[in-house]
């Protein structure tokens, strides 16, 4: 993997003006994306995953969005400062997106092939014929059979999985440097989901695109990601390589997520669930937003938000437990088991990108 950073999000904070007040959806997020890598963003519903990534392409509603602070650096430019015309040149061209709902994300009254050709015409300044040719190639690439014939089909003639392939073809049309996939398989059934994930993994290898992959599903993360960012209440609480997050998690919230993930080899009678629910972002609590749900919370958690503590060059976690003065705590059994595995992997120097079947919450 090349180590050049292609995208850098710095201290991004986004709020929404609503009838009830100002919702602080994203409250200071930092991450970077390297060329060719897949960064997964995980976290509960409402933690700000979609908002942080939509901000990159300026896809948030103009009317009620407040970018409070931060920078999103792409090729030396701060995307947040670009005008509508300037960002248009980047959308779909350098940075493309795939969304969750393939059933509703395609225009029902436009031929599928034309929808794929559209961004090519918009960005590459080619003739309609050339764009069509390229669209046909893309349809073939994403596994749509008989492109010549299906080019003129309308979305309703396609199944959900096929539509998501079309969405992927649209996203790849201009060979973007970054692909943002916001829960691209959530709406699909398990077999189709596996096919789409395979497709994305293969395309990524072939095209060397960087991917930001948003999901709820840690099983999917294990299959896709090089690095993982865990979000909670508008902040990244832990970020690291996939191995570090799965086998050496440091944040109690990550522990909770892992413990609540079904595993194959442990006798499980019931699944763990993190107690309580995420805080109301209209009035985020003082201190650590997770404190109220955190059985490992320290006194300081309730009045002072922890900083990101460094675990390794690639691994950071936002918890006071990493402070030198913090008391020793015993993580859940599942996490201890994982950490032992991590130490074993490390000692055997077998730490590699291949996360074992262990991490897979679900198999397909």
């Amino acid at each position: 993997m090349e180590e050049t950073t292609i995208l850098e999000v710095k201290d991004l904070a986004v709020s929404f003006q609503t009838f009830e007040g100002v919702v602080q959806a994203v409250r200071g997020v930092d991450f970077s994306l390297k060329k060719g890598e897949t960064l997964a963003i995980v976290g509960e519903s409402g933690s700000g995953k979609s908002v942080s990534t939509k901000a990159i392409n300026q896809l948030l509603p103009k009317k009620n969005t407040l970018i409070e602070r931060g920078e999103i650096l792409f090729e030396g430019k701060d995307l947040l400062k670009l005008s509508e015309k300037e960002i248009q040149k980047i959308r779909g061209n350098d940075i493309a997106m795939i969304f969750q709902d393939p059933m509703t994300s395609l225009n029902p009254t436009m031929q599928v092939g034309k929808q794929i050709a559209e961004p090519i015409i918009a960005h590459k300044g080619v003739s309609k014929g050339e764009a069509k040719q390229k669209a046909l190639e893309l349809m073939d690439l994403v596994g749509i059979q008989h492109p010549e014939r299906t080019y003129k089909s309308y979305p309703h003639q396609f199944s959900g999985g096929m539509r998501q392939r079309v969405m992927i073809a649209i996203a790849l049309a201009c060979e973007p440097k970054i692909l943002i996939a916001d829960e691209p398989t959530t709406a699909l059934d398990v077999t189709i989901q596996a096919q789409i994930l395979d497709l994305m993994n293969n395309l990524k290898k072939d095209l060397d695109t960087s991917i930001i992959f948003i999901t709820h599903d840690l099983g999917v993360v294990a299959q896709m990601a090089d690095r993982v960012a865990v979000m909670y209440a508008g902040k990244i609480v832990e970020i690291g390589t996939a191995d570090e997050i799965f086998y050496n998690p440091m944040h109690p919230y990550t522990w909770g997520l892992l413990a609540s993930m079904p595993t194959l080899d442990v006798e499980q009678t019931s699944l763990y669930t993190i107690p309580g629910s995420p805080p109301n972002l209209l009035h985020p609590p003082e201190g650590d937003a997770f404190a109220a749900r955190n059985e490992y919370a320290l006194g300081i958690d309730f009045y002072e938000d922890p900083e990101l503590f460094k675990v390794s060059e690639t691994h950071f976690a936002k918890t006071w437990l990493l402070h030198p003065d913090a008391p020793e705590v015993i993580p859940p059994a599942e996490v201890i088991r994982r950490k032992e595995k991590f130490r074993y992997l490390n000692s055997e120097k077998r730490m590699s990108k291949t996360v074992g079947g262990e991490a897979y919450g679900r198999r397909y």
């Binding site: 248009q88 959308r91 709902d101 029902p108 009254t109 559209e118 961004p119 309308y154 649209i170 049309a173």
Partner: protein, 316 residues
């Protein structure tokens, strides 16, 4: 598609039959009798009876209906009682002006309303939107006769810009220009509702369409706002709007009656009112059936339009 249209036309026949029976019953349920109106007060009962016999009104209702139906199917729509003049040529001579009035109204209304609706939706929440929405509210609420009289008072009586009524000046050669001149006020009155209604509808649909995921996809592709509007927005917004056209057409038939009366427009509307007042049953039946045919065709037209605009709809 051809087969579908044929099927629709065939299923329309029983509907038309039911309408004709319904209209016939309602006409005869109304108190009074055609003979009341043009027989002199001092006519003897024998004379009245003779007239009734001559017009066939002495027969039982079912017999009268069947006779009417039999003649109508052969193209004989009967005569006007008062003038003894056949119904069909009168009807034909009055259709032209009504088609002109209605056609101009629909064309004008949609040409104005669809862009206004789009504008209102795109400026959602700004003062432009507020102004248009307010205007549309007034437009749908204001009664035709009120608006008609108001406009006549201001533009004809006070300012003298437009004629108070009719389709052309008496004795004057009727050219397209004079007809247009006479059309402006009645079309304005008649259009008020349709412009307002369609603007509101177009606005609502457009706002809804812009909330759809495929618009988000189009934006994420990096398309220009103009392309998103024309290629992804309008086409999809037009699908529900076709329904409104389907309901506008029959409503227009009713609205034209009042407006033609106010502006003495020599069309079917005034003919209808005259026929009602004078109990010209054959004429009323003919007008009712004509309106029914128009409505049925409007519905068929709308269904065909759906298939044209929306690829998801196929008729087999």
């Amino acid at each position: 598609m051809k087969k579908y249209i044929l099927k629709r036309l065939l299923t329309a026949l029983p509907v038309l039959l039911m309408i004709s029976i319904g209209a016939f019953i309602m006409m005869n349920l109304a108190p009074g009798d055609p003979t009341d109106l043009y027989i002199t007060p001092d006519a003897t009962p024998v004379q009245v009876e003779a007239t009734r016999t001559a017009l066939g009104l002495d027969q039982p209702y079912p017999v009268q209906y069947v006779r009417w139906l039999g003649r109508a199917l052969r193209g004989d729509l009967g005569i006007n009682y008062s003038t003894r003049y056949p119904v069909l040529p009168i009807l034909v001579s009055r259709i032209g002006p009504t088609i002109v009035l209605m056609g101009a109204t629909l064309l004008f209304s949609y040409l104005v309303a669809i862009p206004l609706g789009i504008l209102s939706a795109r400026k959602h929440g700004t003062w432009v939107d507020t102004l248009l929405t307010g205007g549309a509210f007034v437009g749908v609420s204001i009664p035709n006769f009120f608006l008609g009289l108001g406009l006549i008072y201001i533009f004809s009586v006070r300012l003298g810009w437009f004629p108070t009524g009719g389709m052309s000046q008496l004795g004057e050669e009727s050219s397209i220009l004079t007809v247009l001149h006479h059309l402006i006020l009645p079309v304005s009155v008649l259009s008020a509702f349709y412009i307002a209604n369609m603007t509101r509808y177009m606005r609502a649909t457009m706002i809804k369409v812009y909330g759809e995921n495929y618009i988000r996809t189009a934006t994420a592709k990096g398309l220009a706002a103009q392309v998103i509007l024309t290629k992804h927005g309008i086409r999809n917004a037009l699908i529900p709007v076709i329904t409104i056209i389907g309901t506008d057409l029959p409503r227009l038939v009713g609205g034209a009656i009042v407006t033609e009366q106010i502006f003495q427009w020599p069309g079917l509307g005034r003919l209808t009112i005259m026929a009602i007042q004078q109990r010209e049953y054959p004429m009323l039946m003919a007008i009712t059936m004509l309106s029914a045919v128009v409505v049925l065709f409007a519905n068929l037209f709308v269904d065909i339009m759906y298939a044209v605009v929306d690829p998801r709809i196929k008729y087999n």
